[in-house]
């Protein structure tokens, strides 16, 4: 039976509990310049500093033990919807570690970094072509940061036309990622929700009714978070434009479109990309993200500075942009992530780029087809790169929720899908396999899901109590909030608690 502990690992302790006075965990540089009186040089010297004191080997063992109780794509299948957990090629890590990239200082004069400019321009050029937009900037450092930057451009655009104050509302479909309304609020906008119709598309009547001269724009995810392509996309963009608004494309789902269709051709004015999703830079446990944005030429005057461009074939930086919104991050964005994305884009190239979307969509439809009898799709249409299934019948008939199915999957050695999102699907399970998974893995996953659905009927508590295979079971989140413990304090050393 599944659910037994599969390995015996040493239980991790906090590093602070391993600390012994006097130990150092690395071979620290030794000064060969004359000694100085610290008090005289600094005017003050700190007395207390409670950092752990452990040996180098202890540090490594500490993290090796911790890594054994953590799950990554290299550990197993990670069908997390909306997150595009594809293979992160090792060659990307190798190129990003080249000293000619990793040892560059962000304030070095541009004349010293023509190779870096070539990378930035190369990524910009390829993304421009893949997305169909006129300009790309790589300055945003994460997806939500890219969304926010696009909204700032929209705001600057309306301000330039004297409509900044009047256009104070951003429309966001009810299926959208939480970052959309949060980013709109961060740009000072009011947020209005637009419903989804019975087929899973944007409700055009509701949209029409919402459009007036107070609308700054619409944020639309395409394919939607339901994994469905919005067939009315061109019309939607026309409607918003007619009302004087701009349309932003949330590019979280670009993996479904690479080499097959281009959002810039759909009528969007701007979009963000998550290079850490579509273009394989590693998620790193929740970051770094990397959030390029694409825009149409009417938003170009407002782009953040500096602009990395080619003048007479040579790379240069343009700082003199009177209408620019300014900087959104301190340097050039996530440069070493751009190196990884560049490496990835060049590995696929012109010949193979479309295979990303082709196989991502094939894999998602395959899972949807294999699970249709146990977990039906929320909308019975061909899905794109992810499928959104509903576990509603298990909740109604057996008191088993999507979360329970997900937790049980952990006992089978798979990372759970995204649950309860999008918000409009009851007991949602959002599954995104990506193109880099082979048929055997998808079959093993589907077999596990089918078996778990049988368990849900026959032995619901098996799911309620899952997982039982890990070093902890379900954790008490209420207690975590009520008895907030977010840092370690040494009682031994008498630090204030």
């Amino acid at each position: 039976m599944k659910g037994q502990a599969v390995r015996s690992v040493p239980l991790p302790k906090l590093i602070f509990e391993k600390s012994r006075k006097g130990r150092v965990g690395c071979n620290v540089p030794v000064a060969d310049t004359p000694e100085v009186d610290l008090k005289a040089a600094l005017g003050q010297v700190r007395e207390e500093l409670h950092l752990p004191e452990v040996s180098e080997l202890e540090v490594l063992r500490h993290f090796t033990i911790l890594s054994h109780v953590n799950y990554g794509i290299e550990t197993g299948f990670y069908p997390l919807g909306s997150c595009t957990m594809k293979y992160n090629p090792k060659i990307n890590e190798r190129t990003a570690a080249l000293p000619g990239f990793s040892m560059l200082h962000p304030m070095q004069p541009a004349s010293m970094i023509p190779g870096a400019m070539e990378i930035l321009l190369g990524v910009q050029d390829m993304l421009k072509e893949i997305t169909g937009f006129d300009y790309i900037t790589l300055q945003p450092v994460a997806g939500a940061h890219g969304e926010m930057t696009c909204l700032m451009l929209i705001r600057a655009y309306h301000e330039s036309r004297g409509e900044g104050k009047q256009r104070h509302t951003i429309l966001v479909p009810d299926s959208a990622h939480g970052t959309n309304p949060a980013s709109a609020a961060r740009c000072g906008y009011d947020v209005k929700s637009i419903p989804t119709d019975a087929d899973g598309n944007t409700d055009l009547k509701a949209l029409e009714a919402a459009l007036d001269d107070s609308i700054a724009g619409l944020m639309l995810t395409n394919p939607s978070t339901l994994g469905l392509f919005e067939p009315n996309i061109t019309k939607i963009c026309e409607m918003v434009h007619k009302a004087g608004g701009m349309v932003f494309c949330d590019g979280a789902n670009m993996n479904a479109m690479v080499g097959t269709t281009r959002p810039g051709d759909h009528g969007f004015d701007c979009m963000h990309l998550n290079l850490h999703k579509t273009f394989s830079t590693p998620h790193g446990g929740g970051g770094p993200g990397c959030g390029a944005i694409g825009i149409k030429s009417h938003l170009e005057p407002f782009l953040p500075v500096p602009i990395v461009q080619r003048v007479d074939g040579k790379p240069s930086l343009d700082w003199h942009r009177p209408h620019s919104i300014g900087r959104v991050s301190p340097y050039y964005g996530q440069f070493l992530m751009e190196v990884r994305a560049y490496t990835y884009l060049r590995a696929y190239g012109k010949e193979k780029m479309h295979e990303i979307s082709h196989y991502a969509v094939l894999n998602a439809n395959y899972i949807k087809a294999r699970l249709k009898d146990v977990l039906p799709a929320a909308y019975d249409r061909p899905c794109m790169h992810e499928c959104v299934l509903t576990a509603e019948k298990y909740k109604k008939q057996h008191g088993v929720r999507a979360l329970d199915i997900s937790k049980r999957l952990i006992d089978y050695g798979f990372h759970p899908p995204t649950n309860y999102f999008p918000l409009i699907v009851p007991e949602a399970m959002m599954i995104e396999p990506t193109e880099t998974e082979c048929k055997e893995t998808l079959d093993a996953f589907c077999d596990a899901m089918i078996e778990i659905c049988t368990e849900a009927v026959n032995d619901p508590d098996l799911l309620h109590n899952a997982p039982t295979s890990q070093i902890v079971g379900r954790l008490d989140e209420t207690k975590a909030v009520k008895e907030l413990d977010v840092r370690w304090r040494t009682k031994r050393e008498g630090v204030k608690v």
């Binding site: 705001r155 446990g285 061909p382 990372h415």
Partner: protein
């Protein structure tokens, strides 16, 4: 298909299960006029792995990186020693390729390391709590200002002109979009001069500041308190090993850039923002926080907590739009701080101070003048040269030195000023050679 495993048979079997004849059929909901033909993109051809490495290596060699010049450039990013353990840990696939730890049972390793990170950042800054990281120092500072606006309801953000100029530019952008006003505070003798504060949401001070001077935080705290403003400090985490942390002066929020703690310079990213505050503001903190709790059997474990502040739950009412943070870089900082520990970090800081004091003497003897002779500094200082600092910098590059940052582009009347940083990675020999080269150039 470099990373796609499907065989022809796989594809046929899968299509048969789906009930489709071709992959194209799966795309039938996309209107035809919006589709493009495969292989029609105007991008370069695919490269195999061997050619890819050769290609990228060749591009990387066009750059003059810091293995090829001796660097005295700091200004927010520092050439510091990174123990080999850092990369050994952060390149492990279990960490590198993990998602945000939303499934705690499968993510205890990462969650515990974040808890340790929060603990050490709070300790370094002398604050109650720290979050799981922000994008970088600049956006962390901007988020702190917005938090202060939320707490005080006031719209004026007072920032010292001795805060990193790029950070101030990011702050300006964020504040413009939130309809907040940024008011700049001048400096005198290399220190911030806090004048009248009118309806201030907060004051923002860098510590040590952009010119290297260790600001008087007690005076700044008093000025903030007197005007009902929040007191926000952007602090250098390595300096914290030797100087009194902002928490001891009663700072409300302390932010900073974590690059110095084990993250490569990488032309400015990915870096990692640090964010710490007093516990009374913990429910307003942007981004993720990890807490310790127990499972149903009483076993201790870690979860992301205070989740109702975050965008995926709270949507437009969230404390920030931040979703992805810089977890991997925060892990690098965690490994770095644990490998260094108390003694190692103190040695790094002390070595930097010794090297800096020595460089100040050497450059003065070479004909440069200290711009702020009375300032107390940690590892960075400003010299005034008899010539334009950009010209001097450029000439020194040819001699194998990256001399520092010319301040002319950022501060008027400082065209001859150069900001010089000296880390523990510099040696006496390098400093002597640098001073001689400078002497020749400014002669």
């Amino acid at each position: 298909m470099p990373y796609i495993p499907h065989t022809v048979e796989d594809r046929q079997e899968m299509l048969a299960t789906i009930g489709a004849r071709s992959i194209d059929e799966l795309f039938r909901e996309i209107p035809d006029d919006l589709k493009i033909a495969p292989q029609s993109l105007n991008i370069p051809s695919a490269l195999d792995e061997s050619k890819l490495l050769a290609h990228l290596t060749q591009i990387s060699r066009k750059n003059v990186d810091l293995t090829r010049v001796v660097s005295f450039l700091g200004a927010g990013a520092y050439d510091r020693f990174i123990p080999a353990t850092v990369n050994a840990v952060i390149s492990r696939g279990e960490f590198l390729t993990a998602y945000t730890p939303y499934q705690p049972e499968f993510s205890q390793g990462y969650l515990q390391s974040i808890y340790e990170f929060q603990s050490m950042i709070a300790e370094l800054y002398g604050m109650d709590v720290a979050n799981a990281s922000m994008y970088d120092g600049a956006t962390s500072l901007a988020e702190a200002a917005i938090l202060a606006h939320g707490v005080t309801g006031r719209k004026k953000i007072y920032v010292s002109e001795a805060v990193h100029p790029h950070y101030r530019q990011v702050l300006d952008t964020y504040c413009w979009s939130m309809d907040l006003d940024v008011v700049q505070m001048p400096t005198e003798g290399g220190y911030t001069k806090i004048g009248e504060l009118e309806d201030a949401a907060c004051i923002l001070i860098q510590y040590p500041n952009f010119f290297g001077s260790i600001e008087d935080l007690a005076a700044a705290r008093k000025a903030a308190t007197d005007s009902g403003a929040m007191f926000i400090v952007c602090a250098d985490p390595v300096a914290m090993a030797l100087i009194t942390p902002p928490g001891e002066f009663g700072a409300d929020i302390v932010v900073g850039e974590g690059q110095q703690l084990g993250v490569p310079m990488g032309l400015g990213g990915p870096y990692v923002g640090l964010f710490a505050c007093k516990s009374e503001f913990v429910r307003r903190i942007p981004g993720r926080i990890v807490g310790r709790t127990t499972d149903h059997d009483g076993r201790e474990g870690f979860v992301m907590t205070l989740r109702t502040r975050e965008q995926d739950i709270r949507r437009e009412k969230a404390t920030s739009n931040i979703c992805t943070n810089e977890a991997l870089m925060a892990l690098a900082c965690t490994v770095y701080l644990e490998a260094m520990g108390k003694n190692g970090l103190k040695q790094v800081a002390e070595t930097s101070v010794r090297n800096t004091q020595y460089t100040m003497k050497a450059l003065t003897q070479a004909g440069a003048k200290l711009k702020y002779p009375n300032a107390k500094v940690f590892d960075e200082f400003v010299v005034e040269l008899p010539k334009d600092a950009s010209e001097v910098r450029d000439k020194l590059i040819d001699k194998g030195f990256l001399a520092g940052l010319p301040l002319g582009p950022y501060y008027k009347d400082q065209a001859n000023c150069l900001l010089v940083a000296v880390t523990e990675n510099r040696s006496k020999e390098q400093i002597d050679a640098f001073a001689s080269a400078l002497k020749e150039v400014i002669r």
